[in-house]
Symmetry: C2
């Protein structure tokens, strides 16, 4: 019997809670600490905070990141913000504690084009402390990038890569339904987009990963965010959307060559009442090939899965900033290899 | 500009030829040698043997494996036989030359359960010489194992894994159509199965990889080979199959628990006239999830692709015997990472 993997949960929001519950199911993991600044969580048992049936777990949520991290976990599961700039100090603190990191920070998933300076800083620090970090999840991290790159293994030549993800947000959390603007007027929606409040973060990162991995000479990445309008009334557990109101987001990111030719096309439709949710990948080249996940991969469940399933791979990875592209992704199986 | 990857093609049958042509397209690869014992190929230019438009390539096919391998290529692409036992000496010779290997030998794809002794011998030799080797291709190596394991990344719990591959052999090579028994009587088909002549090799290896990677407690692997009967006349470019004759193989491998419960189910239908070719994966657990490649991945094109696309990964891998499960698979991009 090998030693358990000692893990710290950094950020106990809805996704962090879902990750913590999943880690708890894995015999090979021991959760040794939890960090969150929310006063309603600090000082309470982690198992209780995440609504676990087998609470208490004997792990107290603390706001003192540095103190918790000093236990030098094997891995920190980091889930606090989509913004790489905002989480830099948190990540550096984890690296200094000589812990590997699996983070849900979308901008960390492939930051080499969008945040090259921060990427270098993290890579250097990780190598200095001899640990590895990765930003991952279902999107970015899987359906619109890693899976595209994996499918490309059966290709001899690739001219264009496309991924379309249609998510029915009706079954998702209220914060997510609000975040995508469900129930807003078009004007309100556009105002929130302008404020940067309505936005799925990570499409440009996925475009960059796909372009670099498929040798597609993308020089420019564009992104548009439009409302997906409701054509009929949609009632979810949490809210109602009337015809003519926004039902969610319709976001498109493109990777263009120097002379403006489209090489990568990623389209995300995430709205309440989506009729045919699915993830679809299409590669044009030799041969043309496509792949469909009927129903699509469920956002919250899948993100927690991808994060926890990435733990053995990040512990095995060479020191430095890694991406889901670099890691052999699979099911959590720390001792699978005979 | 980095130095080119120096490659040797070991085995110039139909698949080896297809691999050599694809390698020739990659700027980053230089083919420095070719090995085959077929007297009709020995002494001729490799480009001519593989029917390349830009022949001659200035590489002569030689039967003297040891002599060719002494050039110490970075990687040997090995494509001579499905039987691990038969190719052991060839593989050991490559390792002794301190070359990494990507092989299409189906039994090498995951030999830890089916040929544990040979697996250990190869792993030890590879580590001794500081190089890595992998057995891969489209099946085994991708659609019924690696892709199953990759999809499992979005799973929290897995109870059962299934993959179904339906291949229309009408569009494939004559040797393949013959190998699957197309046009034989049922008696002839069964006799050839008993002789070991009709068989797609690699399903038990895929079952083992899936079981180990998904932590499914498989203790026993079973396999059946039945004829897929033609219900109507099928005419291919090469042969005709009459109703009542075998149109191809219908092969099923199962991974069973100690008490006989099915945990992994892999089904391969490869026959001329297949109506709905497709690769389908279904994982039962939390959540249930499935994936479809409509039309399926084309066997010969895809095998050459997976093999060539695996070259950068095997060069980067730690010394030893690797499997497609361990490698971050993608498109050939030796210098993609910024």
């Amino acid at each position: 019997m090998k030693k358990k993997i000692r893990a710290i949960q950094y950020g106990v929001g809805p996704i962090g809670a879902s990750i913590a519950r999943l880690m708890r199911e894995k015999q090979a993991i021991e959760i040794i600490g939890a960090i969150d600044t929310d006063p309603s969580k600090v000082g309470r048992d982690l198992g209780e905070v995440v609504g676990a049936k087998d609470a208490p777990w004997g792990v107290i949520v603390s706001a003192e990141a540095k103190e918790v991290l000093e236990q030098a976990a094997d891995v920190v599961i980091h889930s606090t913000s989509s913004s790489l700039e905002k989480v830099m100090d948190q990540l550096l603190l984890c690296l200094e504690a000589e812990s590997c990191i699996v983070s849900t920070c979308e901008e960390l998933s492939y930051p080499f084009r969008t945040h090259p300076g921060l990427a270098t800083k993290l890579d250097t620090a990780a190598k200095e402390w001899g640990v590895a970090l990765v930003g991952t999840g279902v999107n970015p991290g899987f359906v619109m990038d890693k899976l595209v790159v994996t499918l490309a293994a059966v290709s001899q030549r690739i001219e264009h890569a496309k991924a379309l993800r249609i998510v029915d947000a009706s079954t998702r959390r209220l914060p997510l339904q609000k975040k995508i603007g469900a129930g807003m007027s078009v004007e309100e929606f556009r105002a929130k987009v302008a404020e940067g409040v309505i936005k799925h973060v990570g499409l440009p990162e996925s475009v960059a990963m796909v372009a670099d991995s498929l040798n597609l000479p993308v020089e420019q990445i564009t992104e548009t965010i439009e409302p997906k309008m409701a054509s009929e009334r949609v009632q979810t557990e949490f809210l109602a959307v009337e015809p003519g109101q926004a039902a969610g987001v319709h976001q498109i990111a493109r990777g263009l060559s120097k002379d403006g030719k489209e090489l990568v096309y990623l389209e995300l439709q995430m709205y309440v009442g989506a009729k045919d949710p699915a993830d679809t990948i299409s590669l044009t080249g030799h041969p043309n090939i496509s792949l469909v996940i009927p129903g699509g991969s469920h956002g919250d469940i899948a993100t927690a899965s991808v994060v926890v399933n990435s733990i053995p791979a990040i512990l095995d990875a060479p020191a430095g900033l890694r991406t889901s592209r670099d890691l052999p992704l699979g099911f959590f199986s720390p001792n699978a290899r005979p």
